[in-house]
């Protein structure tokens, strides 16, 4: 009898001939996640098995953050021929549990003498005879006792849901515009979950924002890298551009023009990073720069696709998500944010593209300033 963790994957099952590619990528992500706890992962029979870990609970926690993982089950692996031993082990797993249960047998090894309904009945009967306090409920049981008959028998009761999605790296690379707010980390999480590897671009406006606000953003990026396994962050000095916009462009257009420069710079960095798309945390109508017309004006300055996974989300839904992925508390720290520094009193909400371009033309030397900002960006690898 051996204790191990069984990792099950979801969407990869739907893949056809290239399924091995996805499986192997997921395996390497799982190996990375359990390395710190001494765990060793192998792919076998459409499952990933993790053995040899020193700290099972931490290992489980790390695995539930690996994109592509459907669920994580601490399990017992044992010889399948002695059914009595399986029953005894199952009884032990049910220890301390109360209420109703159901046995779910899966017989992958079709040579096994008992079929699944028979295992269900025999094992269920055995448990009931030893634990008269438990009851069977086959529709909505409190506990599911899983028995899988493969090369060995695998028994487990607890199932921790994984994040789902696809293994990071299976779907290209994108640059996330990361502020200190609540939305952008969630947007990054959602796209990374689809297998996209991330780099982040943060705009820093010293002295309007200080070291603490930068550290806050890096902390958010660290939380995200817990899911997507490392991330490069570009901290772009943005003060000169912001001041120039503020000085030379009409007040009601300043935020929109600022957003357009952020997109341009992010695309420049994306090119350097071989990232194929930009990601932002915008949602329709949340603020003036996120109305449909404003989004059209920001989109107009970049060539590649811009992913906005939160586009149809309410703020409260985004907050729920941020709390779930663990970025909310950091996002709520009070330091000034580059986006809020020069907020105009009455920003334009229905901008026209031609008017915006005209307003923007009043800026001197914008190309030079942008190139400088990209050049001088601080690069931090997390």
């Amino acid at each position: 009898m051996r204790e191990l963790i069984m990792v099950r994957y979801g969407e990869i099952y739907l893949k056809g001939l290239n399924r091995p590619y996805f499986q192997n990528l997921l395996l390497s992500r799982v190996k990375n996640a359990v390395k710190a706890f001494g765990g060793q992962a192998v792919l076998h029979d459409s499952r990933i098995y993790v053995r040899g870990m020193t700290d099972t609970q931490s290992c489980i926690r790390a695995l539930t953050r690996v994109f592509g993982v459907h669920s994580v089950c601490p399990a017992v692996e044992m010889e399948k021929d002695d059914f009595k031993a399986i029953c005894a082990q199952a009884l032990q797993l049910m220890e301390g549990l109360e209420g109703t249960f159901k046995v779910y047998a899966r017989r992958a090894d079709k040579r096994y003498p008992m079929d699944s309904p028979e295992i269900n009945a025999q094992l269920g009967g055995y448990i009931l005879s030893r634990r008269p306090d438990l009851r069977v409920d086959i529709r909505t049981p409190d506990h599911a006792l899983n028995v899988e008959i493969r090369d060995y028998a695998y028994l487990y009761v607890r199932v921790y849901p994984g994040p789902g999605g696809m293994p990071v790296g299976s779907n290209g690379r994108a640059a996330l515009l990361l502020s200190g707010g609540i939305d952008s980390p969630v947007a990054g999480y959602m796209i990374a979950k689809r297998g996209v590897s991330l780099c982040a671009v943060h705009f820093h406006s010293f002295p309007y924002t200080g070291e603490r606000s930068k550290e806050k953003v890096l902390e958010l990026a660290r939380t995200l890298s817990g899911y997507c396994g490392g991330m490069r962050v570009y901290v772009v000095p943005f003060t000169d551009i912001q001041m120039r916009i503020h000085e030379q462009c009409p007040e009601d257009y300043t935020t929109l023009i600022m957003r357009r420069y952020m997109m341009r710079i992010a695309e420049g960095i994306a090119r350097k990073e071989r990232a194929q798309a930009l990601i932002t945390g915008e949602s329709i109508g949340q603020v003036a720069s996120q109305t449909m017309s404003a989004l059209a004006c920001t989109d107009a300055v970049v060539e590649g696709p811009v992913f906005r996974p939160l586009i149809g989300f309410d703020k409260s839904e985004i907050i729920d998500y941020a709390q779930r992925i663990g970025t909310y508390e950091t996002s709520c720290l009070p330091y000034e944010d580059c986006c809020t520094v020069f907020t105009p009193r009455h920003p334009v909400t229905q901008p026209k593209l031609d008017k915006t371009a005209l307003a923007e033309q009043r800026m001197d030397n914008a190309e030079v300033l942008m190139a400088e900002a990209i050049e001088k960006a601080e690069i931090i690898d997390l």
Binding site: F206, P207, Y208, T209, G210, Q242, M243, H246, E247, E251, L333, P334, Y335, E336, V341, F342, T343, P344, R345
Partner: protein, 381 residues
Amino acid sequence: MDIYLDNSATTRPADSVIKAMRSAMTDGYFNPSALYAPALAVEKHMNGCRDQIRQALHANGGQVIFTSGGTEADNLAILGPLKDRGPGGRVLYSAGEHPAVIESCKALSAYGYEVAEIALQPDGVMDIDHFEAQLTGDTRLICVMQVNNETGAIQPLAQVSKLRDEKCPDALLHVDGVQGFLRHDCPVQAWGIDSYALSAHKIHGPKGIGALWVGERVRLSPILYGGGQEKGLRSGTENTPGIAGLSAAIASYPKEHAMRTLKLRLLERLVAGIPTLHVNGPVPDSADAADHILNLSFAPVRAETMLHALEAESMYAGNGSACSSRKQRHSHVLTAMGVPRERMESALRFSLSPDVDTAQIDAAAQAIIRNYDMLKIFKRR
């Protein structure tokens, strides 16, 4: 070189302090409760520091209890005499108190006490009429700080004590002296003060050590339990290096200094360059204003922006109270004074130490004006 004008947040430990602490760790590391002679020497040194504190407070007698700092001293002074001593009564604190005092007072409401706040005047000094109105016969404790940490407003302790004697002589008077100790005189017995909290790191001593002086009539119970050190009032092996540092800090704190002159010089230069400048607190050259603290609003430039701009030139000032800059809220002190929002958001605190010199003040004034002129154009509209 750095120009450090955030001495109300903390001060740089004096060289003599570091030396004394080093020696307390290398040579005098003994547990003062042990029976052998070197331990006794440590204990004597500790008692010497208690005498220094009494002397600084002009106290004949009373106990000095060492704590982990000002916060613990305030907690002990407030919870110690009252927490298990029903049947309740009133606890008053001035609205400008440090959170260590306010939160300790509020904690007393769980023990059946009625907790009430005394209003501040627009200059940050407590409203003595409001205090008189609040002072009922069943008042058990009054907490008023010596010097406000954000505005430098010196509180009218002698008057508070006199009113207390007239209307409610049994009420205890606790004074948080963290920002006042050594910088402004506080004769505790002459002013009828019952307890006085102080902290070492505001007077060029180390962090992690403070003390509470308590007068004869206070019946104190401990808030920490353990080995019974400090006559059972503060268990835990004494922080002897910290106490050695505190002792050296008191000994080396200059009797004479130019902080008031320099503070006024800073203000004068700044007003000349920034006519719209606003002082938050008492008139700086009045008797109500502390020598070392100046709270100024640079509207429309936000405090955080000015602070970072100065930081880029290695000049450091405070934004409100350092204890709360992690929380997003306006200063409770400036709010209680009725300071309008824009002034609050642009308020910086300059706090001096005896180390600050004229050249630093002039350089700071110059840098502030230069940054102000640049930053005021790029204000949030």
